[in-house]
Amino acid sequence: MTTRLSIGNLGVRYRRDGQGVEALKHVDLDMEAGKCLAVIGESGSGKSTLALAIAGLLPAGTKFDGSIAWPGLGHAPLNGRDIGFVFQDPSASLNPVLPVGEQVAEVARTHLALTWREAFGLATDLLGRVRLPDPEAVARAYPHQLSGGQKQRVAIAAAIAARPSLLIADEATSALDTIVQAEIVALIGRLVTEDSMSLLFISHDIALAAQLADRIAVFRHGRLLEIGETGELLRSPAHSYTRSLIEASFGPAAEERG
């Protein structure tokens, strides 16, 4: 099993209102190639900071120590080329005045040395791959003409356009309602398998994450609380906090059904 990503003793501090806020403390984490790691946490747990730190997108002035290493990559990771990133709010992550086809195509053009014509062709293929009906028409549409779930499919197409080896989904389904949410989770699962990407799935919902994850890491107050194989962690969590999350998410009704 090769290691895709290795995080060592990572700490991140923001400055807010003249006060330092420690968003992450002493985080050690490895990601294996082709596997899915879910990062679970509530607001303030530092899970989104972790995603932004890996993609080098932390705001200017953020203090940062520890290491993020990419064994076997041979160069610093390029956003879009090596890392695909899907954000929480699909309405906010697409430029409102550009056709969505162009927003997928520009990723392909930037990283794959394609002409615009080739990039648009690839974009249309990708829109089909994320199961958008009539990809040619969708490529010409603007974000406001699509539903929330459709927009998130477009954002996913843009994220995988340059075939990155790591896909980060930061609360990628929590702005959607439950039915669409299940569809998007299934879509991400299929794409990750087909392209043999590693997946970092960040969520507040442990039940949702359990559907995809090989391993689950639980974060609280900026610290990694525990990490383990999905089945193991769900069956016998080491921390009472993890247990409360599991109970709150799955609920008695679901157990009864299973």
């Binding site: 709010d89 906010a92 992550s93 697409l94 430029n95 409102p96 003409q145 356009a161 340059a162």
Partner: protein
């Protein structure tokens, strides 16, 4: 282009209402001013007391205010803006004669201020907080505080009195006999200073709006998303940030057309450009209220037309305009 047609139809209906209100306003000012249309006509054309009586009756000016208003509207509908005392000619003729110079001045000043302002705004806004951003920001604020007519005088002192580079007065050399390209060049030389004086304050405005707008767009999630997709900085600045920040400037372009027409009054009198603004000042000096109100009406129509054009431009730039959105 169904969307554009719908937009035009809606705006035209609104414009008619607006125009009626403007007409009501000018009518009220006309009533408040001393003298009436017959006085004006008689002063310029001549006539005796019986003729004055006759004209008053014929033009319905001896009737109630409501009738006089109806008469006013119906004459406006026939494109009759009354008679100018000062020029002894129909107001509309005088106004249309002066309109082209003002359009040329305004068009040039708008083009200069919008293009240069947007460009410098992008230069400043592409790196928020950098030295060039702060420099352009403070510079534009200083420029924004300079009254155009005074800037005009200072430019005259520098370029005409001290350096003797540019000629002054009018829009072209009178009776030079030039045609074609030489004439265009002559007009351009005359226009440099007035256009600068009129346009610089708006240049500062557009620069500031662009800069502030870009600062706002930089903070939006889709810019972070574009960075996360590895899009090049140049493309992010131009295609994502500037493209979105441009939209409010286009709206401003329409709103500022009225202000610029007002500003051209002073600029045209500083540089003796024989345009609509200068005519307005002459009308005030000659106490020719009907002429002044005619200028106001023509300006209002002009502003409405410009705004209509700007709305269409905006609809072309922002795909969200006029669409019914997704079903809720």
């Amino acid at each position: 282009m169904n969307r554009a047609l719908r937009l035009i139809r809606r705006r035209l209906i609104g414009s008619i209402a607006v125009l009626l209100i403007v007409i009501t306003g000018t009518f009220l000012l006309l009533e408040a001013a001393p003298g009436d249309a017959v006085d004006a006509y008689v002063v310029s054309v001549g006539g005796d007391a019986s003729m004055i009586e006759e004209l008053r009756r014929r033009w319905g000016l001896d009737q109630s205010a409501a009738t006089r208003f109806a008469v006013y509207i119906s004459s406006l509908a026939r494109l009759d803006l009354g008679h100018s005392v000062a020029f002894s000619r129909p107001n509309l003729d005088v106004i249309l004669e002066r309109l082209p110079d003002t359009l040329l001045l305004m068009g040039s000043a708008t083009a200069l201020s919008f293009c240069l302002g947007t460009f410098l705004g992008i230069v400043a806004g592409s790196r928020p907080g950098s030295f060039r951003d702060r420099f352009l920001s403070i510079g534009s604020l200083a420029l924004y505080a300079v009254p155009g007519f005074w800037l005009g005088l200072v430019l005259i002192v520098i370029f005409s009195v001290q350096l003797r580079w540019l000629q002054l007065g009018g829009i072209e050399t009178i009776a030079s006999g030039k045609t074609g390209a030489p004439r265009a060049l002559d007009i351009a030389r005359h226009l440099v200073l007035p256009v600068a004086s009129l346009g610089f304050i708006y240049l500062a405005l557009y620069l500031r709006m662009m800069r502030v707008g870009m600062a706002e767009v930089w903070r939006m999630d889709f810019v972070l998303a574009a960075r996360a997709r590895g899009i090049g900085r140049r493309r992010i600045v131009l295609r994502h940030v500037a493209r979105n920040a441009l939209l409010p400037l286009v709206t401003m372009l329409g709103l500022q057309s009225a202000a610029m027409l007002g500003g051209s009054v002073v600029i045209e009198s500083v540089f003796s450009v024989p345009g609509l603004g200068r005519l307005a000042q002459e009308a005030v000096a000659a106490r020719d209220t009907p002429l002044l109100l005619g200028i106001i009406l023509v300006s209002a129509v002009l502003v409405i037309a410009v705004n209509l054009a700007v709305d269409l431009l905006y609809a072309g730039l922002d795909p969200r305009v006029g669409s019914s959105g997704e079903a809720a």
